[in-house]
Amino acid sequence: DTAVSQTPKYLVTQMGNDKSIKCEQNLGHDTMYWYKQDSKKFLKIMFSYNNKELIINETVPNRFSPKSPDKAHLNLHINSLELGDSAVYFCASRMGNFNSPLHFGNGTRLTVT
């Protein structure tokens, strides 16, 4: 199946821990994104990345860092997790010409206790 896939689907961890979420797309897209969705379903951009440029939303704490081993993967590392990091994190991808739709993964529900 062609898709954007994320792992894990659920992640429950304690404050202060470090965790990673993996994302892979086999759609041949050249730009990938991480979005955070809060409990009210508001999707907020965190990062966008293609093989040339990383764009970071300036409101994202530097505890969050994207890592891309190749253009089909964009992983999200989070250090020193806080309660407020609890949310659903969506990976997405598109072709980089800005006139194509975003394709989303199924999300990772992160719960920090």
């Binding site: 379903k41 951009i45 975003l102």
Partner: protein
């Protein structure tokens, strides 16, 4: 800063009703406006609009863009319970898409 505003935030209708969801945007170097439907998991793509006045249609859903007034509407006719979802509007220029807060539509039998 780019901004997308949706209204209403929530809506409850009966099966068979027609609904109109609104989306206004302020985006630098506008390229496109997109509509998504989100049920339990990932947002699924509905429409992408780039030109004013051209209606996009898929079954009972349709959407149109007004680039002069900076808004779009999503119409759903003859609503069904399966249309219950959060409908997200997003827009962007040369930057990642910015999303509105969504309209939560509930269709009751």
């Amino acid at each position: 800063e780019d901004k997308v505003v949706q209204s209403p935030l929530s809506l409850v209708v009966h099966e068979g009703d027609t609904v109109t969801l609104n989306c206004s945007y302020e985006v630098t170097n506008f390229r496109s406006l997109l509509w998504y439907k989100q049920e339990k998991k990932a947002p699924t793509f509905l429409f992408m609009l780039t030109s004013s006045g051209i209606e996009k249609k898929s079954g009972r859903l349709s959407s149109i863009l007004d680039k002069k007034e900076l808004f779009s509407i999503l119409n759903i006719t003859a609503t069904q319970t399966g249309d219950s979802a959060v409908y997200l509007c997003a827009s962007g220029g040369n930057t990642p898409l910015v999303f509105g807060k969504g309209t939560r539509l509930s269709v009751i039998a």
